[in-house]
Amino acid sequence: MTSNSNLSNMRRLVDQLKLEASVERIKVSQAAAELQQYCLQNAAKDALLVGVPTGSNPFREPRSCNLFQGQQNIRIMQRKTYIGTQKND
């Protein structure tokens, strides 16, 4: 039984290698040239590479203080509750 499974494993390996050997390949010089071309064509859009004009990268903006934002939310909630009770009257 073991020899059969070894045999079928080897057969599968040989088939797999035949498949991989038959892959169509291009020269490294051509592949490298195309990788380079892609990089250069898209370089301008790459914020981490070239940086972006100040103001358009949200992470580079100083963010508003969490505490302040929290206070703002509480005030908005309070106002909504007040309006709610007014309507019920």
């Binding site: 020899s3 070894n6 045999l7 080897m10 057969r11 390996l13 040989v14 797999q16 290698l17 035949k18 498949l19 991989e20 050997a21 892959v23 390949r25 291009i26 020269k27 490294v28 010089s29 051509q30 592949a31 490298a32 040239a33 195309e34 990788l35 380079q36 892609y38 990089c39 250069l40 064509q41 898209n42 370089a43 859009k45 790459d46 914020a47 981490l48 590479l49 940086g51 972006v52 990268n57 949200p58 992470f59 580079r60 963010r63 969490n66 934002q69």
Partner: protein
């Protein structure tokens, strides 16, 4: 293609093609043939082609946000397509969804297992998938109601026979691709939990996977403890290309933005670039001073920069074309375990065993 049979083999009683030793000889011949075919086309090195390209200037990249809240090692993270939300998972079983702009936590789920090694955001932004030592991948729809118990709506999708190492939604919320310590990858239907395709070929744990950019078709890559990186056809389940040049476990694989190449990070302290159409490794990113494994890699938007998170707590930034290191980023106080560039390329996020995530820009 038939191979000539040597006289000794022809005298055996059994069909010459079928004995174990003959198949072994045939496979050895094929392996040599494969190497020869690849070598024939190796006419130049990538960095030689890139000699005429301008070098990169000084990089000012700093931690812009620190996400604190995990109680233990952060193991994985993923960005939402909205470019501001992040999901992260950790050793203590917690999965947290953050708003990276404000650093607020929007959702938190406690998984029933520890070591949640994989997490992913759904393309719609309405769900997250995660899993780890539970051998499963579960999907949690994200509710707008912060008080709602997310765990109640959990859907178990994938079932492996060993830990879940990575997961990713395909182009929609409907299918998930998983990789596992059981040596396989699998494609699942989220709604029914049905196994749509399984991918066998790794000889050991599969540690990572990445889907091809949607324009380039239905393939994905996986990397494993067998030091191999495999390229798979999602529809047939067939392994179409395989690369074995790393000297240790491959922890991370990531497609080049054009889909024609991919990078890998390994415990052998190197990152490597493989071109799919040349069918070979075309660059190695290493330095004698870097001796710790690379756990996670990702490309910048144009593919010119490769970010690698390492087990020596640093992030190295490589010039993909020239093969040189352009920057080294310090900040984490323990291993960097996860690293992803944001969907629009304006920042990248790193997760670490120091319990925090950092957003760099």
């Amino acid at each position: 293609m038939r191979f000539s049979i040597s006289p000794e083999m022809a005298t055996q009683e059994v069909q010459p093609n079928e004995t174990l030793s003959n198949l072994k000889a045939e496979s050895d011949t094929l392996k040599t043939k494969l190497e020869d075919e690849r070598a024939k086309l190796h006419d130049v090195e990538l960095h030689q082609v890139a000699e005429k390209v301008d070098g990169l200037g000084q990089f000012i990249m700093k931690t812009r946000r620190t996400l604190k809240g995990h109680g233990n090692k952060v193991l994985c993270m993923d960005w939402c397509k909205d470019k501001r939300r992040i999901v992260s998972s950790s050793q203590d079983g917690k999965v947290i969804v953050w708003d990276a702009f404000t650093t607020n936590k929007e959702h938190a789920v406690t998984m029933p297992c520890t070591w949640v090694m994989a997490c992913a955001y759904a393309p719609s932004g309405c769900a997250v998938a995660c899993g780890g030592l539970d051998n499963k991948c579960s999907v949690y729809p994200l509710s707008l109601d912060k008080n709602e118990n997310l765990a109640a709506k959990k859907k178990s999708v994938a079932m492996h026979t060993n830990y879940l190492s990575a997961c990713s939604f395909t182009n929609s919320d409907m299918q998930i691709l998983t990789s596992s310590g059981d040596g396989t990858c699998a494609l699942w239907d989220v709604e029914s939990g049905q196994l749509l395709q399984s991918f066998h070929g790794h000889a050991a744990d599969v540690l990572c996977l990445d889907l091809a950019p949607s324009e380039t078709g239905n393939t994905f890559i996986s990397g494993g403890c067998d030091k191999k990186a495999n390229v798979w056809d999602m529809r047939s389940g067939q392994c179409i290309q395989s690369f074995e040049t790393h000297e240790s476990d491959i922890n991370s694989v990531r497609y080049y933005p054009s889909g024609d190449a991919f990078a890998s990070g390994s415990d052998d302290a190197t990152c490597r670039l493989y071109d799919l159409r040349a069918d070979r490794e075309v660059a190695i990113y290493s330095k004698e001073s870097i001796i710790f494994g690379a756990s996670s890699v990702d490309f910048s938007l144009s593919g010119r920069l490769l970010f690698g998170g390492y087990n020596d707590y640093t992030i190295n930034v490589w010039d993909v074309l020239k093969g040189t290191r352009v920057s080294i980023l310090f900040g984490h106080e323990n291993r960097v375990s996860a690293l992803r560039v944001s969907p629009d390329g304006t920042a990248f996020c790193s997760g670490s065993w120091d319990h925090t995530l950092r957003v760099w820009a």
